[in-house]
């Protein structure tokens, strides 16, 4: 029996069937592996597979199988289908292992599957439904009022923000409404580095949570709005401290498929997108930064999936950490492209909070084995989930964004 395309009602998915069909079901994606002459890396890197274990949940094999089964009419949509699809964090670990030509399309396929789920409205997690129903009004997934977006800034500063600047600091929803410590530290850092920047009350959610859960129809308005901001503020680009915003602004807004969504929403052109850590690394390399103090701690770095695997920025954070006087960087066994996700992305933190924190607890336990006292990262969403795990475990480790480490001890030369 051949897997003939029959169910063309699943439009987003059907468009990708040529690619979906390239999955041979070999299972390479189910386990992290790299060979070497004297040792090799071998570890489970798929958090979903680690938790649920069945083939459907493990690596990209299961999701590609579901897509084939649905498109060929072998199975019908059910609540369990949605569960399999929505417990995928979209971390991209399986993409690193895939060796066939479906590889580059895997994340797009997962998001298309999540998108199709809305048509059936079976089993979509209540937490995801909840924020999705209000994001159009609030412009953020935290169900907070949009007018409170800049409340992380002191009122005096808020009222005197420049109307024109070279860069817009795009804080993102998590730093704006939850991890205000990171937004504030970034603001102070950019000031100390004498960057010409502003912050805007016009910032809306970058649309990452919408794209990652396949809600393309709502995402459109957000992308069209945000990409107009640089022109409005005379800026040449965005600076962001959020890995999720970085991936969305620099890839989804800009690139054609399979990486981005320019095919659906058009292209943002002529706008630089810089992660804070890249800015700092560049300034260190140019000799423009001076350290005024030391940071005498052992630190381990957690690679956010959206910055690491999705955008392939692995070394910039490490180079910055290595440049900090007194800081000793130690690696977890699973790092860089084989990093283990914190468990927050893809709608999982909102949809399956217990599973989400269970995943981040696994990551914190791994961090504890390094001998570090601090976990650092460059993503407020990871920060939040890992910090919840530290609390849940009553771990002695401390969570700090690299920006929080840097801000007190740097100045512009």
């Amino acid at each position: 029996m051949a897997l003939v395309l029959k169910n063309t009602d699943l439009k987003e998915l059907a468009q990708l069937y040529d690619r979906i069909s390239m999955c041979t079901q070999c299972g390479n994606c189910k386990y992290g592996y790299e060979y070497g002459s004297t040792e090799n890396f071998a570890a489970m890197i798929c958090p979903q597979g680690d938790k649920y274990q069945f083939e459907a949940y493990r690596g990209s094999k299961g999701k590609a199988a579901l897509a084939k089964g649905l498109l060929s009419g072998m199975i019908q949509w059910s609540e369990k289908t949605t569960h399999v699809i929505y417990t995928c964090i979209g971390c991209g670990a399986c993409v690193e292992m895939c060796e066939t030509d479906i590889k580059d399309y895997l994340l797009r396929i997962f998001e298309a599957l999540k998108g199709e789920a809305w048509k059936f409205n079976m089993g979509i997690p209540e937490g995801v439904k909840k924020w999705s129903s209000t994001i159009g009004v609030n412009k953020n997934p935290y169900m907070e009022k949009h007018e409170d977006r800049l409340n992380w800034l002191p009122a005096s500063v808020r009222d005197s923000l420049p109307k024109k600047a070279e860069y817009i600091y795009f804080a993102g929803c998590t730093a704006s409404y939850r991890q205000k410590n990171i937004a504030l530290a970034t603001f102070k850092l950019l000031q100390k580095l004498k960057i010409d920047f502003t912050v805007t009350p016009d910032e809306w959610c970058c649309a990452s949570p919408l794209l990652r859960t396949g809600q393309y129809n709502i995402a459109k308005e957000f992308i069209e709005h945000n990409r107009e901001l640089p022109e409005k503020y005379g800026a040449s680009g965005f600076i962001t401290t959020c890995a999720g915003c970085y991936r969305t602004l620099s890839i989804d807004y800009v690139k054609d498929p399979p990486e981005g969504y320019a095919d659906k929403f058009g292209k943002m052109e002529g706008v630089k997108v810089i992660h804070t850590i890249q800015l700092v690394e560049d300034m260190i390399n140019k000799g423009e930064i001076e350290f005024e103090g030391t940071f005498n701690n052992i630190v381990t770095y957690h690679d956010p999936c959206h910055l690491g695997r999705h955008a392939e920025v692995y070394e910039s954070p490490r180079n910055v950490l290595k440049a900090i006087p007194g800081l000793k960087l130690v690696e977890m066994y699973r790092n860089r492209k084989f990093s283990f996700c914190c468990g927050a992305g893809g709608g999982v933190r909102g949809g399956f909070p217990d599973y989400s924190v269970e995943t981040s607890m696994k990551r914190v336990k791994e961090a504890e084995t390094t001998g570090a006292s601090i976990i650092t990262c460059v993503c407020p969403f990871c920060w939040r989930n890992l910090n919840d795990a530290i609390d849940a475990l009553k771990s002695k480790m401390q969570m700090l964004d690299i920006v929080e480490i840097l801000e007190p001890i740097v100045k512009r030369k």
Binding site: L5, S21, E39, N40
Partner: protein, 486 residues
Amino acid sequence: MARGNREVLAKLEQIVGPDYVSNEEAVLLPYSWDLTWADPRLPDYVVMPKTVTEIQRVLRLANHMRIPVIPYVNATNIGGLCVPEEGGIVMDLKRMDKIIKIDPETCYAIIEPGVSHAQLSAALKATNPQWEGYEFSKGFEFGWGVHPASASVLAMAINHGIGHLNGRLGINSQLISSMEVVLPTAEVVKLGSCAFSDSWHSFLPLPRMDGLFLGWMGTTGIVTKLGIWIFPIRPYKDVLTIAAETAYDMTRYMVHWRHYSLCDEVTAVSWWLAQIPIPYPYQEKPKDTPEWFSYTVISGWSEEELEYKRKMWKKVVAEEKARGTKLIDFEYPPEAKRGRTELPSRIIGSTKNYSKSCGGGLAWPGTFAPCKSWPILYEKWKEIYIRHNLSPAVRFTDFQGAHYGMLRLMTPFDKRNPESVKAARDAMVECIRAGIPLGMLPYKPPVEYMNELNAAADAGYVYLMTKIKDMLDPNNIMNPGKLGIR
């Protein structure tokens, strides 16, 4: 949508816990097929036991209810072995993933079914051969095959899988030293030295009862622990390559070279298999290109030993050229060399070479055949494949001596297209039919190949196979339909 019935589901939940059993189609679907043209068939349940006791309880239930049980770990066998012909319970064993022991003195390991090649190779590389604490060298290895690193070491070994040491040591089922099996009727048995002590080092000199579970494709029991011999990693390695005009020339060279038993592996691939991806549908080979390409891996404990092997290899090549064998010099790319010497390899262990853009289908006539038949069968297979518009992507590999070796034909096809699936299936079955009279035997055979084998088999062979199957599995619950006899 749910399958099966609630009563069985509830009983399975009692045995393994509700998190490790499902009868939902969305969960069952990936267990319904594999890479091959085997028709997808959904199981009714999947269970993931963690212990031998749980396996026993599932089997007792299955016998009582007459439900098929299909052992499963990764389903990368390229033979449809785990596709549930008659529905039933897929028993996914990947939660049983302990490396129970690595004995660096007696040089064996004990593993559970869920242990992957990735996991075992990392553990073996971190263990050093030693005696009374004195370490001789760095790391151990096993026979790493050409498959994803997530594949099960145990499943591959008990189904006569091949590994990178097969030129030196034979196929992986020859490297098994002891085993624990749960019989279809749920009794636990130990075979080999482990039946008498805690040592899992050898089957010999006992009667080889392990043969009741090797190559039976999960139809006679569930192997829950396996003792395997492990081998010190030799620190010096090289890959030597040569091409040939024809399969006859290539076979002549390979037979001559392996006469000296100096290599870990010697393999040759036809031009179509050397392409990435394999051309699909069939494409003609460029006229100025050799038809065959081979590599051989040599290893040693010193550069001098390696150099001696190189010299011997050069001597063989020179002698063959002198007597008219058409051999052509060629160099392997560095990444391909790495893939052959730093194993298990993520590159050759993938499907990218085989199924790049063809609708995800991949299967083979994978066979063991006497070396004399290789070039004859290649010509026959080539004719069959070109007639079906498929590329003759053939591989020869020697297995430890003059006796036999692997002859197989990797075949990508388009699973979306019924005609493509049929053409691949028809071509492969025709190849098997053509090969059996010339001594060729398919390994990990799909049902269609088993039917061909049974049709050609000595009557006594089928009689005994049936009798053994009936004795061990009176209710025919273990992977029914795979042997073509019930």
